[in-house]
Every structure is written in C-alpha cells, then in structure tokens.
Amino acid sequence: MVELRGVHKSFGSLHVLRGVDLDVGRGEVLVVLGPSGSGKSTLLRTINHLEKVDRGTVRVDGELLGYRRSGDRLYELREREILRRRTQIGFVFQNFNLFPHLTVRQNITEAPVHAQRRPRAEADALAVRLLERVGLADKADAYPGTLSGGQRQRVAIARALALEPKVLLFDEPTSALDPELVGEVLSVMKDLAGGGTTMIVVTHEIGFAREVADTVAFMDAGRVLELGPPAQVLDDPAHERTRAFLTKVL
C-alpha cells in the first residue's frame, strides 16, 4: 500500500533522510521508533508530500505521490493533482492542528465537502458516524477550544478519517497529551488497527508498538536500522543503537 524506495531528504546541509526503503501492506500497522532527530517525522511528511523528497520514490497504492514519471525523470505535479492524491492519505499531527474558529462538525466536513466535492448532507452524516466511532457524538457543535487534549486528538483522527483515506499517518499523536489522556487516544487507534486500517505511526509508546504493530521500524540518523515484527525488534534487537534506545525509553 505504501512503498518507499531510496528516499533522501536534506534541509540545507542537514541530511535528514539517507536512503529509506519501507513497505507497508494493506491493513498493516507499521510503528516507527527512534530518537528525536532521527528523521521519523520527516519520513512521515514525505509520504503525503508535505516535504518534497530530494531523491527516491514514494508510492501510495501504486501511485507516485507528487510526481509523474517520464523516462528516468520525475516531474513535480501541479498543485491540484497533488491535493487530489493527498486526500487518499490521512495525517494526524502531534499538536492536533484543529481549526479553532470552526466547530468540531465543520472541522470534519471541511475536507470532504471542499476537497472531495461530496454533498454537504453526506458529509454531515459521515461526521456523525465518525464522532460516534471516536466516542464524541455529543461534541459536534463544540469549538475545539472547549475540549480536552485527548478529545481534540480524537476529533483530529475523525477529521483525518473523513477523507476515507487508504492510509493513516500519525506523527507522535500522544506526545502533546497529559499522561492520563494518552489512553483514550491509543484505544481509538487500536480500534482502527483492529478494523483493518493501514497505519504508519511515529510514537514513543512502546506498549502500543508491542500490542498493535505488525512491523516495527527503528530509525537512527536518517536510516532504518532495524525492521521486523515487534517481538524481534523490541525484545531481541540486532543493533547496539536499538538496544541503547530501548533501555532508555522502557
């Protein structure tokens, strides 16, 4: 479903991604671990073209994202086409990034109505279903500012799901939350994973990785150092760096 080949990305002289290859199959959950500055977030952001890659290819469901291939060259697509392909990818941010001047319902229906041109009534019905799914059916007319951090992140997940995306990306979804609010967000994510949603999750929640992930990737200094089932990567890591990281976070 998601396929990265030889992805490189630099910010000025800082070489953040140094040739990343990854594959995530339909319905699979990939959890990406790694120290801060290892390129996890940048990796996630290249998948929906929030960051342009310098080299390499990113495919979602077989389609190149942001580029059109002709011979041995990649031509960047026009904005309209990039936006259409982006609607196949849901993105959940660390800081939620809900629109504070719109109600919860408006936050959720904005993209289906204005990016996917779906009828308003259909989008409203979808918002109701999604809010039920994340346990916030009574908050449709609330403004994000009146919600707790955990509730905001659950709305943000509902907003990403409203695109009915082929894959959901999570960028440290629980890092900005008070400890007692982390559980409610993780449980929504577990439900999604159980329901067969394809997910790539950057997180420091090792427990979540162990319980939910099909594959765990450990990133360090812009490379995927280790890749495998959770039991292997978390309990019997092959690399010294992985072991050192795990002893710190566990």
Binding site: L50, L83, F93, N95, E110, H114, Y143, G145, L163
Partner: protein
C-alpha cells in the same frame, strides 16, 4: 526505600469557625473621586455658561444640509480609502510573503515609498499629475495605445483624493495584514494542505479568519485614523467636513461654534465605528475564551 513522613498539615492557630475577610481600606479614594468630580463640574460649567461657545449656532449648523453632505463625503472618502487600501494592502502582504524575490521586493519597495511620504504631499502630487503627464494613454506597454484621455478629465479632485488616501492606506494595511498572516500557527496551513483543501479556500476559510483576530484591532485604529485623516484633503477644496466648516466660518465669523460642529461629528463617527469594531472582534473571536 522509605520516605520520611511528612507532617500532614501545618499547625492550626485558631479553632472554631472560619474567620471573616475584611478588605483593606483605601482612604485616599474618596477625596480623589471628589477632586475629579469638581474638575468635571468646572469643565461642564465653562462649556455651558460661557456664551462665546454659541451653542445656539452649533445647534443651527449641526444638521445644516451642507454640513450633512460634507459628513457623507467624509464617510465616502473613508470608505473608499479603507476598502481600496486594504484590498491593495492584502495583495501587497501576499506579495511580500511570496518566495519570489521580485514580488517580495516590489512589495517592500512600495511600503517603503508610501510610508515615507507625507500624505499631504502625495495628495498634491496626484492632484497636479496633469503637470507631469497632460494625457494618459491606454494600450500595450511600450507599444501602440488604443485610446488616450486628458489627465485633468480622469483625475478629478475626488479621484486624486481617493487615489492618495488609498495608496497611502495600502502601505499601512499591507503591514497589518502581513502581521496578521504571520500570527497564524503554521500548523494550520499544514493541516489544511494535508487535508487536500484547495489553495484559495485554505486562505479565505482557514488562514484569513484566524489572522483577522490580530488584523481587526489594528484596522480599527486605521479606520478611525482615516476618518480624521480625510480632513487633509481640504487642501484640494473638496467639501468634506473640515473644509465645509471652514467655508462657513469664513463667511460668518463663528469660528469656535463651527469647529465644535466638526468636533461633534467626528466624535459621533468614531463612536459608531468603535462600537462596530467591538462586534467584529467578537465575531472573529468565536471558539476562543
């Protein structure tokens, strides 16, 4: 490992019911309030009892048709200056924020030039444009013109005033709008882009309404400033409020009374605008505490 036991609560000094709180007394407040009241009464007395203010003349001219017409012209100039100024200012702000260096330096140059020149100088400049370019021609740049027109016919005093006010206002508006756009969390732009929302919709539905929270108070300042600022167009003999009262007092010699008429109208206009600003701010503040 054991932790030392912490004393559960500080020793209580007093048993029995909770004590009543007595606020501190501010003994100087009363004399101070009295002093202010006396000063206000003196001011009111001076306004009412001195016949030189000529309140009857003020009353006679406050709603005189020529004065009311001049108030309408003042409002018209303000509205044109603000609407055109902010429209151009928004374009300039977007140019300034553009990654294209030519666009951004052009916007910078505009703001630099029009903030540097006094408004009154600019107005005279537009007013006398015909001295520089007697005829204006429209057509292909550096190529043939399709038609041309006398500058005096195109740039009437009203057009020169509108042009001057709008171009001057645009320089300030550009900075206000730019500040507003920069105050919006970059995550908002990113979230909207990640949702695939088209560019124009992103700007008008997501970014601009949030920028308005910091634009409106500054824009309010500008609008109120411009209501009074329109008075400088009197040098072009446009019958706005300030020019009109001068015309009248030059005829009848009732200087103070007519200045008071102008003062009362300016107060009314700015009061109405301040109230409107309060509601506009409340609208854009929705969803926040």
């Amino acid at each position: 490992m054991t932790l030392p036991r912490i004393e559960s609560a500080p020793a209580r000094h007093d048993e029995g019911p909770a004590p009543k709180v007595v606020p501190a007394r501010h003994l100087l407040r009363w004399p101070a309030a009295l002093g202010v009241l006396i000063l206000l009464a003196m001011a009111a007395n001076a306004l009412v009892t001195n016949p030189a203010w000529e309140w009857d003349v003020v009353g006679a001219y406050l709603f005189a048709p020529s004065v009311v017409r001049s108030v309408l012209l003042t409002l018209e100039l303000t509205a044109l200056g603000i609407v055109l100024g902010f429209a151009l200012g928004t374009v300039l702000a977007l140019m300034r924020l553009s990654p294209n260096p030519l666009l951004s330096s052009a916007a910078f140059g505009y703001v630099w030039l029009f903030r540097s020149l006094p408004l009154i100088l600019q107005l005279l400049f537009w007013y006398n444009l015909a001295l520089l370019y007697p005829r204006l021609s429209f057509g292909i740049p550096f190529g043939p013109g399709f038609f041309d027109i006398g500058t005096m016919d195109l740039v009437s005093p009203l057009a020169a005033a509108t042009l001057g006010l709008a171009l001057h206002q645009a320089a300030y508006a550009a900075e206000i709008v730019r500040g507003g756009l920069l105050s919006v969390d970059p995550g908002q732009r990113e979230a909207a882009a990640a949702l695939g929302i088209p560019r124009a919709r992103r700007f008008f539905r997501i970014i601009l309404p949030q920028a308005m929270r910091s634009i409106v108070p500054n824009a309010g300042n500008e609008i109120i400033g411009l209501v009074k600022g329109t008075s400088v167009v009197y040098i072009m003999a446009l019958p706005e409020l300030f020019y009109q009262v001068q015309v009248i007092y030059n005829r009848n010699g009732r200087v103070m009374a007519l200045l008071l008429v102008a003062a009362i109208w300016y107060l009314i206009l700015t009061t109405v605008l301040s109230i409107a600003q309060h509601y506009v701010e409340r609208h854009y503040g929705r969803g926040r505490a």
